[in-house]
Symmetry: C2
Subunit: 162 residues, 2 copies
């Protein structure tokens, strides 16, 4: 069972795919979709990038961080635009989307809820046996995917509020 | 030359297509994409709806309202998600997207910048010779399209800031 984690952003969107093998999270791929140009061009690049990852790696679920309170309306709008594109890319492939809070993701990956980004990067390297530390966005995406794997294995996933 | 105006929203997305004939704005179609279900399902419905409108009516440009300051981060995120989906639908068809401020749209359609929604609905009926008043979301979408037509005819359109 492959899981795609996504860390959406208007400039850089992280993605990470993991696979469950013998109840272990195994690394498949991770990376960053860096986009430039106008806003519609950047969003189209995010859509095409996620579409390609889904086509290539055939995940059965997508996990994204639930946004509780964005910093400000302007950044929330930009994040929302990238996030909407990621969600629609999943929906068009019939992939179920699961949301987790930042606290759930950090607890699942680092064991504590107040971990910083560097700790998440370090733990992704350790947990998945990577030879190099993944970039921040890719590490956050992998952490989302691992969080979903843990919740699938035991706890009920956090559903969508319509 | 056909222009598609879009008024994106997480629950209701208005659309309106107008056509220029002898320097006049002529009505082609308008409506609302009402979506329900989970957030990814709703976004997929918006994407599919706009995609169908573009396929059917072949507009050469899309016009949307520029969001200067959303009310709050939560509504900005939801609006952003719907907006991102609309922009990516246009970009995937190679359609140029133009943004206009609420002030520009109201001035182009009602003549003043402080018009309320009912005035916009009324003016859309009058300007386009409709037999019925369009719904609020559809009227806002038509108003975006008319604003773009006016700017195309004379003023330079407001470009995207990357």
């Amino acid at each position: 069972m492959r899981i795609l984690g996504i860390d959406p952003g208007s400039v850089r969107t992280g993605f990470g795919v993991i696979e469950e093998r013998r109840a272990q999270a195994c690394y498949v791929v991770c990376g960053v979709i860096a986009s430039k140009g106008t806003v519609p061009e950047r969003l189209a690049a995010i859509f095409a990038g996620i579409d390609e990852v889904i086509e290539t790696y055939q995940p059965v679920a997508m996990a994204v961080e639930r946004v509780f309170l964005a910093r400000n309306p302007d950044s929330a709008l930009k994040l929302g635009q990238a996030r909407g594109v990621a969600l629609v890319a999943a929906a068009r492939h019939g992939i179920a989307v699961f949301e987790y809070t930042a606290l759930q993701i950090k607890k699942a990956c680092v064991g504590v809820g107040h971990a910083d980004k560097a700790q998440v990067q370090h733990m992704m390297r350790v947990l998945l046996g990577l030879s190099v530390v993944p970039s921040r966005d890719a590490a956050d995406a992998l952490a989302c995917a691992i969080c979903h794997l843990h919740h699938q294995a035991g706890l009920a996933p956090t559903g969508w509020h319509s």
